[in-house]
């Protein structure tokens, strides 16, 4: 639609955009003598003030919020559709197998990182060491996984000691649940944030 690109103009030929830009300023010589501009100015000025009132008004209105049911449904679907990722075998007992999902393990690693002041866990990936396991069976042994955790760190902290403490913390928390060794955990600082 070519028309769409054309800027609308007033009867006197002036662009509405240009008038809008100077709506708060005193009349210029052209406006003083142009009835089109004067009329448009009054109308646009009124629109600007009602627009501003609406912008202030709407966000605070309970009536302009979706009902609680909407979020309930969204979270219900999200929970049902959580991508669990591959499963990691933790044990086999007389009764059967015990697995943990990569998703749960990643969340655990993020939780561990968050317990350190000045560290914010971001993405965490869990991959098998063995290349063959990456494409094959969705189940891997816990000795064959590598955890890569990305974090943002407060710019007020010195990075090397923070990284050391972070690795220790993640290893401590994760190994309490899943037997892992320190070689299996990589921590990457991808961003600094200001305090």
């Amino acid at each position: 639609m070519a028309l769409e690109d054309e800027t609308p103009r007033l009867g006197c030929g002036r662009r509405i955009d240009d008038l809008w830009e100077v709506i708060d300023q005193p009349l210029n010589p052209h406006e003083k003598s142009c009835p089109d501009c004067q009329q448009a100015r009054v109308a646009l000025y009124n629109l600007a003030s009602v627009t501003e009132a609406m912008r202030q008004h709407d966000p605070g209105q309970a009536a302009l919020q979706p009902s609680g049911r909407v979020k309930e449904t969204i979270m219900m679907v999200a929970r049902a559709e959580v991508r669990r990722g591959r499963r990691i075998q933790l044990a086999r007992t007389e009764a059967g197998t015990i697995h943990i999902s990569a998703h749960a393990l990643a969340a655990l690693a993020r939780f561990a990182a968050d317990t350190l002041t000045g560290v914010r866990a971001r993405r965490c990936s869990i991959d098998p060491f063995t290349p063959a396991a990456r494409t094959g069976d969705a189940v891997v042994e816990s000795s064959d996984i590598r955890i890569t955790l990305k974090v943002a760190v407060s710019s007020a902290l010195s990075i090397p000691p923070t990284m050391e403490a972070l690795r220790e913390r993640v290893i401590a928390v994760v190994s309490a649940q899943v037997a892992l060794n320190s070689r299996q955990i990589d921590v990457i600082v991808e961003d600094l944030y200001d305090v």
């Binding site: 049911r69 909407v70 449904t73 219900m76 679907v77 929970r79 049902a80 559709e81 959580v82 669990r84 499963r87 933790l90 044990a91 007992t93 009764a95 059967g96 197998t97 015990i98 697995h99 943990i100 999902s101 998703h103 749960a104 969340a107 655990l108 939780f111 309490a176 649940q177 899943v178």
Partner: protein
């Protein structure tokens, strides 16, 4: 306690699921049986346009066959289970899963069935109690 299942008529799927739900939820360290796509999708058949009320209606609830976190297959009175759990971080998840296996085996016997395999998947480890 007899090692043999009690004689008499064994329970059906639904009753066993209900018994398991009850006994597994009581294990310290189990936060909840974790809903998955299978068990939840029946309830949310339609989430789009005008579908919001559907999944909360009582009919939809009873029509759903899957129970959160419990999958049962019974062949010749042998019950095979998959259990999906959210566990509490203050307990070792492997230990919690082992307890869940034992509790499930006992529950199957109480139901008049023979325990087959009881596989446990930990889908979430959480710090909060629910």
């Amino acid at each position: 306690m007899s090692e043999q299942p009690t004689t008499g008529r064994p329970v059906d799927h639904e009753t066993l699921a209900e018994m398991l739900e009850q006994s597994l939820s009581e294990i310290p360290g189990v936060i909840r049986l974790e809903p998955t796509l299978k068990s939840t999708m029946t309830r949310i058949r339609s989430v789009s346009r005008r579908g919001m009320s559907k999944w909360t209606s009582p009919e939809a609830e009873t029509a759903s066959t899957g129970r959160d976190g419990i999958h049962i297959r019974i062949d010749n009175r042998v019950a095979n289970l998959t259990i999906e759990l959210a566990t509490n971080i203050s307990h070792s998840s492997v230990e919690t899963a082992k307890v869940a296996q034992q509790v499930a085996v006992e529950t199957i016997k109480r139901a008049g069935l023979f325990p087959g395999s009881v596989d446990v998947s930990i889908l979430s480890i959480e710090s909060r109690t629910q």
